[in-house]
Point group: C2
C-alpha cells in the first residue's frame, strides 16, 4: 500500500530521530518537553493540559465538527510489538480500545461505521487501523461530558479539529476538558483526507452505470491511475493500482451545505462554487414535510417514494417531450410543482421525501458540472455525509450528472463519504510533528501557542 510522502515521516525500516532501539530490537519513543512556539497559517495550536511531548503522543484523533454531523477518526496502532510506547499511552490505548473499538454505538446517537474501518494503514511511521465514528453535532455538549466522565480528557491526547464547530466549540472543550484543538482549515483537511484515503484504499472510488434502473444499475470500482471511467474497469477490480490520485479533479462536498472545489495538484485547490441546497436542505424539508426526525428516516422514506406525484414534469406541461430544446417528457420542469393542485391530498410523505432528494441531487449535479466545464476538468468526485446510509442519493446524483452532461461525464464517489475532513486532521498531526522536529533541529520556525478569543 502506498502513502503520500508526508504520511511517512521516518519511513518504516528507518529509525525516528528521537527513537532509540531497545535491547530486544523494539523501538522506544522518548518524550521530550520542548514547548511549541509558532505554527503555520492554518494551524493555530495544540496544547494538552498536562503533557506536552516533542514527538506525537498517542492517542491520535482527527475531528471534523460539521454543521450537522461530527466525524471522529481514531488511529489505533497495531504494531505495538515493534514499539515500546510510554506506559501511559499503552493504558490510554487500552481504555480507548475497550470503549471505542469494542462498541458500535455510543450514547443515544453516536455510531461507529465498522464497514469503513481501514486496516493496515501507515501514519507517521506507525501501522494501525483507522476507526470511523460519528454523532450529531447538536450532541456536542453531551460528547464533551462523556469525554469528561470517561476520563479521556486526562489522557495525553492530541486532537486536531476542523469544521465550523472546531471554532464554535473550542471554548467548551478548553473550559470543560482542558483540551485545546489544533484547528485545521476545513477544505484543506478535506483534500488531505481524500488524497490519504485514496492512496491507502485502491477500491475507494466507484461509479454507477444505469443508476436509476433497478434491474440494470451496477456499481463499478474506478481506478484513478488508469484515468478510465467505463465499465471495463471492472476487469481490473483485483489489481491494486497504487499510484493514487490524478490531477486535476473537481470535488463536490455535500454536507449540510455544498462546496465545489477545483484541485489542480497537491495542496493546490480553490473553492469554485457552492450551494445551500445540500444535506441540510434535504433533511430539513423532510423534517417539516414528512414529520421525520432524522436524515436516516428521510432517506428511507425517499427510497419508497415517487417524485412524479409531487414534481411537475415536462410532459405534464407539454403533453410529451419538449423537442425544440431537447427536454424529454420525464424531465422535472418544476420541483414540488404539483403541490398547489387541488388534488394534492393524494401526495404521500414518501413522495415528498423523494422529491426533496431529486431536487437536491439534480441541482448539485448541475452546479458541479458547471464548475467542471468552466475549468475544463473531466473528473468530478462527490463526497460528504449526504451520500451516507443508502445509495439512493448517489444514484440520483449519478443520474443528474448523466442528464446534465448528456452522458459525457460520470459522477465518481468515494466510499468514505463524509470522513475525509477528519482523516485530513490526522495528516495535520504529522505535519505538526515534523515541524517540531525541524524546530528542534534548528531548521524550522518556532510554533507559537494561540488561544481563541
Amino acid at each position: 500500500m502506498s502513502c503520500p510522502q508526508n504520511m511517512l515521516n521516518g519511513v518504516a525500516g528507518s529509525i525516528l530521530e528521537n527513537d532509540v532501539v531497545d535491547s530486544d530490537g523494539k523501538r522506544r519513543r522518548i518524550p521530550s518537553l520542548s514547548l511549541p512556539q509558532r505554527e503555520n497559517a492554518f494551524l493555530i495550536m495544540i496544547q494538552i493540559s498536562h503533557s506536552i511531548v516533542d514527538d506525537l503522543p498517542m492517542p491520535w484523533f482527527g475531528l471534523d465538527i460539521g454543521g450537522t454531523l461530527t466525524k471522529l477518526v481514531y488511529f489505533e496502532p497495531t504494531d505495538t510489538d515493534e514499539f515500546i510506547d510510554p506506559e501511559t499511552e499503552r493504558l490510554v490505548a487500552k481504555t480507548i480500545h475497550n470503549y471505542l473499538v469494542s462498541n458500535k454505538a455510543y450514547g443515544e446517537a453516536g455510531v461507529r461505521d465498522v464497514y469503513l474501518q481501514l486496516n493496515n494503514v501507515n501514519i507517521n511511521a506507525r501501522t494501525g487501523v483507522i476507526h470511523f465514528i460519528r454523532f450529531p453535532t447538536e450532541r456536542m455538549p453531551y460528547f464533551i461530558q462523556l469525554v469528561k466522565s470517561k476520563g479521556f480528557a486526562q489522557m495525553s491526547s492530541t486532537v486536531c479539529a476542523t469544521g465550523g464547530g472546531a471554532i464554535k466549540y473550542s471554548k467548551d472543550a478548553e473550559q470543560e476538558l482542558g483540551i485545546q484543538f489544533y484547528k485545521a482549515d476545513e477544505l484543506e483537511s478535506l483534500i488531505k483526507g481524500i488524497e490519504f484515503v485514496a492512496a491507502n484504499n485502491p477500491d475507494e472510488c466507484f461509479y454507477y452505470d444505469n443508476p436509476l434502473d433497478e434491474e440494470k444499475c451496477r456499481k463499478f470500482i474506478w481506478r484513478w491511475s488508469s484515468a478510465r471511467c467505463s465499465s471495463t474497469d471492472e476487469e481490473r477490480k483485483d489489481e491494486h493500482v497504487k499510484d493514487g490520485l490524478q490531477y486535476p479533479y473537481v470535488v463536490c462536498n455535500i454536507g449540510s451545505g455544498v462546496s465545489v472545489l477545483v484541485v489542480r495538484g497537491k495542496s493546490q485547490f480553490e473553492r469554485a462554487s457552492g450551494s445551500s441546497i445540500g444535506g441540510g436542505f434535504f433533511a430539513g424539508l423532510c423534517c417539516m414535510l414528512c414529520k421525520c426526525e432524522t436524515f436516516e428516516e428521510a432517506i428511507e422514506l425517499a427510497a419508497r417514494g415517487d417524485n412524479k406525484n409531487v414534481d411537475k414534469l415536462v410532459r405534464d406541461i407539454y403533453g410529451g417531450d419538449y423537442d425544440s430544446v431537447g427536454l424529454p417528457g420525464d424531465t422535472v420542469a418544476a420541483s414540488f410543482g404539483k403541490c398547489c393542485a387541488s388534488d394534492r391530498e393524494k401526495i404521500r410523505v414518501e413522495d415528498l421525501a423523494r422529491s426533496a432528494l431529486v431536487t437536491t441531487c439534480n441541482n448539485i449535479g448541475s452546479i458541479a458540472l458547471n464548475v467542471a466545464i468552466s475549468h475544463g476538468i473531466d473528473r468530478i468526485v462527490f463526497v460528504g455525509n449526504f451520500l451516507r446510509v443508502n445509495p439512493i442519493a448517489s444514484r440520483h446524483l449519478a443520474h443528474a450528472m448523466n442528464f446534465w452532461s448528456k452522458g459525457t461525464k460520470k459522477a465518481l464517489f468515494l466510499s468514505h463519504e463524509g470522513y475525509f475532513g477528519a482523516v485530513g486532521c490526522l495528516d495535520k498531526l504529522v505535519d505538526v510533528t515534523e515541524m517540531r522536529r525541524n524546530h528542534r533541529n534548528g531548521n524550522g520556525v518556532d510554533p507559537v501557542m494561540h488561544k481563541d478569543s
Copy 2:
C-alpha cells in the same frame, strides 16, 4: 417610439397592399379568401372556423399557456377613425371591449393587470393598446367554456398560442370552440416579446440598488442604449432613448420552472441552462409547508418572514464569518438547515415561506450568473411571473446577483415580467400576415394547414 422592423409591416403613413383608400381618406381593409397552405417550422396553423381572410383579421390575441399561469394579451386598435374595419370586426371589438376592457377580473381567478397596459403601440401598421390578462392554467377548461358562452368563438378570431398548454389544450380548443391555435415556439415567443416591449416602452428595464436594505433600497430605470448599469442612469429617467435592446444578453425566465437563454442577436438565441427550482417550487413548497393556497398568499407570507429562523447560516456553523473562503457570517450555508433542530416548533409559516423564496432566488442567481460568465456576457435580464405581485422576489434575486458576482453584475428586470411569451405571439401574427402576402404575390412558400395529432 421605435419598433423593430418586423413590427411595422406597412409602416404608418404607407398603405398596405390590400388596403384601399376611401373617399373620406380612411383605409378600408379588404378580406380575401386565399387559403393558407404551408408555414415555417414553428408555426403549425391557424384556421378560424368560419372566416379565413388574407390579411390579419381582428381581434388580435396572443396566448401563453404556461405550467401554472395562462397569459393573454389583447391588442385593441385606437386608430379606428383612420380605418374602416369590416363591420363584423367592429362588432367583435365592441363586445370584447365591453367584457375584457371594462373589467379587471373575470370569473373567479382571471385578472387584468391594468398597470401594465401599453398605450400607443404600433403593430402591423395599426395603433392601439395592449391589454394584459392572466388566469391559472388549471382553469383552462373553465376559460374555454367562458369563451364559448360569451360567443367569442363565433367571432373572426385569430389566436396565436405558445407555452406547453398550447399543445396540451389545442384539442379542447378545437373540439369545444372550433378554434385552432397558431402554435409558436415558447422561447422564440419570449425573445420576440421582450424585444417588442423593450422597443415600445423605454421605461421597461430597471434594477435595484441596496436591494435588501429596507431604507436604502431604490429602484432605477436602466437604458439598454446607454449600456450603463449604475445609479447615474436615474438622471436620464426622462430621456426616452429609443434604440431598443443591445446584444448580447442573458434572459432568465422564471415561470413554474427556470430557463436561461443566451441571446446574441435578433432571433439568435439558445437555451443554455435551466432549473426545476423556480416559481412552481416556491409556490408548491409554500402550499405544503404553510398551507396557503396561492402564489400571491405565499409571497405575502414570505414578505413578513425571516429566513434566519429556518436556514442555517455560516455563522451558525462557524460562529462568525468563514474568512478563508470569503463567506460572510450571514450567508445561508444550508437552506432549511434548522428544521430538524429540537426547537423547530418556534419556526413560523412566514419564516418558512421566506426561506423558500430565498432558496429559490439564491439558486437562480447562481445559475444565471454561471451562464453569463461562461458565455462572457454582462447583461442578465430576469423575467417571468415568479417576479409578480411583490418586489420581494426581485429584490432577493438582485441581492443574489450581487452576492454571487461579488458586486460586479446587476440583475436587470423588465416590468412586463411574465407576459413576453404572449406578446411574442402577437408578433407571430404579423409574420403570418407577411407570409400570406408574400404567398399571394408569388414570393413565398405556400402555408400549409396542419392539425395536431
